[in-house]
């Protein structure tokens, strides 16, 4: 059995850790090569024409794992409102049509999350003892938390470092080191070490970076290839990026706290209430709420990322443009036609607008 997964941010690291713990050999867990134009080309070629970008990218990524010999593919499944519900079904059909003999295992990401993940691990390991499954799962989760903790520091450092690119270099090293860590203690040690090193990066003492929040659809927000490294580019422009949507947060709430009655988006949903009072699928409701909260918390601007023709985010965009909170929003639609230069120009213009607004001291002034 050779297991393959599609790329989704850093999710391959925790998955690999869980697989190693449960006794998968080096060639039993196939990590797809980093996403490139080739991945996207595969995805575009074999997807329905109007499918969304996450569908195309995950399909391209799965085809690449199949090329490397994967025969068991893990994918998300949902019974939600957005297209995610049909990802696995459509992609399975396509991969069969391409002649790969791959078997799909799906994780329910909309209802019984914890149960379906543990079930999947039990199935794949032919019923390993419960304590082993749970301990492996927790080891993977600890890696995910460490990565996101480091990323938070990186996002702050990128904006103010003296020599641009230092934080990124360290971040890449840290990802490698965490990937190689074999026990939970080591993960903790590595993450502490890199956070210290990041804090020692020489900083510009005069810098007063703009604060921008990134909100929107979870796949394009988390996967750097889909949003063309928007966080790094903003860092180069001296902007501090804040993003609430991370993998560890998803795990923390959806696998644990939600079951205890602590709802992940309670505050956000409350903020969105005057404009939208029920879910519209995907992350649409959260986007509206986060716009309201960001305006309240004194952010300088918001970048709203969404795949082209994403239904929930279009609802959110329509509502967001007429809320009474006054904060500049740059809506970026991600699709296979996007070019990096065009995006950079838009980002520069947006950052200019934000710094003018700040200079004029009209953070809560009239609409621009």
């Amino acid at each position: 059995m050779r297991i393959g997964i599609p790329h989704f941010g850093n999710v391959y690291i925790p998955v690999k850790a869980v697989a190693c713990r449960l006794g998968a050999g080096a060639n039993e867990m196939i990590i797809p090569p980093p996403m490139t134009e080739r991945t996207l080309d595969f995805g575009v070629k074999y997807s329905p024409q109007e499918a969304c970008l996450p569908y195309k990218l995950t399909l391209g990524s799965l085809i690449e794992t199949c090329e490397l010999g994967a025969d068991t593919l893990i994918h998300g499944r949902g019974t939600g409102i957005c297209r995610l519900g049909y990802y696995a079904r459509g992609q399975e059909q396509m991969i069969r049509d391409l002649g790969y003999d791959a078997h799909f295992f799906t994780v329910d990401v909309s209802h019984h999350k914890f149960r379906s993940i543990v079930r999947l691990l039990k199935d794949l390991t032919n019923g390993a003892p419960w304590h082993e499954v749970i301990s492996a799962l927790f080891f993977g989760i600890s890696k995910s938390f460490a990565l996101d903790k480091i990323e938070k520091v990186v996002q702050k450092t990128r904006a103010v470092e003296m020599e641009k690119g230092m934080a990124n270099l360290l971040y890449r090293e840290a990802i490698g080191a965490i990937d190689e860590a074999m026990v939970r203690k080591e993960v903790k040690k590595v993450s502490k070490e890199y956070i210290d090193r990041l804090n020692q990066v020489p900083r510009d003492p005069k810098a007063d970076p703009l604060k921008v929040a990134i909100i929107g659809e979870i796949y394009v927000v988390i996967e750097p290839f889909a949003n063309m490294d928007i966080e790094v580019e903003l860092g180069k422009l001296g902007v501090e990026v804040e993003r609430t949507m991370t993998l560890s947060r998803w795990i923390k709430y959806n696998l644990f706290l939600n079951h205890l009655g602590i709802r992940e988006w309670r505050k956000v949903h409350k903020a969105a209430k005057p404009y939208l009072d029920h879910s519209v699928g995907g992350d649409g409701w959260e986007s509206v709420g986060e716009k309201v909260l960001c305006a309240r918390d004194g952010y300088d601007g918001i970048i709203h990322l969404a795949p082209f023709t994403c239904m929930p985010e279009i609802v959110a965009q329509n509502i967001m443009q007429s809320t009474k909170e006054d904060i500049p929003v740059l809506a970026v639609m991600c699709d296979e036609q996007q070019g990096k230069q065009g995006m950079l120009t838009r980002l520069e213009a947006f950052v200019d607008l934000l710094s003018f607004r700040r200079k004029k001291g009209m953070k809560y002034g009239r609409r621009i």
């Binding site: 329905p48 024409q49 109007e50 499918a51 969304c52 569908y55 019974t79 939600g80 409102i81 957005c82 297209r83 519900g85 049909y86 079904r89 459509g90 059909q93 404009y275 939208l276 009072d277 029920h278 879910s279 519209v280 699928g281 995907g282 649409g284 082209f308 023709t309 994403c310 239904m311 929930p312 279009i314 609802v315 965009q317 329509n318 509502i319 443009q321 007429s322 809320t323 809506a331 639609m333």
Partner: protein
Amino acid sequence: MIKVGIPRALLYYQYYPMWKTFFERLGAEVVVSPLTNKTILNLGVSRAVADTCLPVKILLGHVISLVGKCDCMFIPTVTSLGRKTYNCSKIIGLPNMTRALIPECPLILDPEIDIEKGRYNLYQNIYKLGRYFTSNPFKIKKAVEEAWESNLAYRSEMSGEEITPIQAIDRICQKNCDPDPSLNSSPLLRIAVIGHPYVLYDEYVSHRLISWLQRMEARVFTPEMVSQGALYAAAKRLVGVPHWAFEADIIGAGGYYLEEAKVDGVINVSVFGCGPDSMMVGFVQHRARELEIPFLPLSLDEHSTEGGLVTRLEAFLDMVKRRERICV
């Protein structure tokens, strides 16, 4: 008398007889917006974000055209119509989008129809809607029962007599409708047209596609002409339990006409940017390829023109005809 405005867009084509009966039994007057035209489309386009799909833009246009002509607007939040099935996000967020984009809109009545939350919740929401018109709960109950009966009658009329919603609505509104010309002559081809009712029957969007096909001597079959049970069974064979309520009708009809009715060709009409269609029509297309039945996917938007559409239809029908000749 309270005037209730109903925009002639989206769910109007599926539920208008039911809504009309309900509001009239409660003593309200129903005002329907005019047929879609260029002004209405432009009004809608001017408000919505560019990526919004065409039917939603048209609905916004209809709402704007109704402003000032009614006391309240009826735009329900139809979240789910069965267990574990939902609707498209845009239909669920419709009242909120309308409120955000059209501030001058009068009060919007937006009962939440969500079968997932259980019967009690559904009844409460409908009761709350009725309370806006009357304080007599028995009157509301009676209106609901009559409305539901008229909905069932509407459905069975369409599937029994094989007529389109437009003809059925005309018949219910006691307009004299001329007998269907396609039934009298003996048409050569049997063509299934599948798509959302608000695309197929809005003549401004679909450019009178169905009457064009009838003029080209084809017998047209639409999703409404199949009974609900057959639709569900066909959809289940094709993709398993469907997650999108209205999409189930479309692919169910596609599956039914391909596998059981054995039509000569299938035309899918969808609008650009339709999320559910983009995923689901692929399954129908796949099945059509397996059964070797011609399949024409048409994608419409606000820029498509009648001339281009007719050319494509003619070419498709010619192809189907030639295929018949070779096969026979």
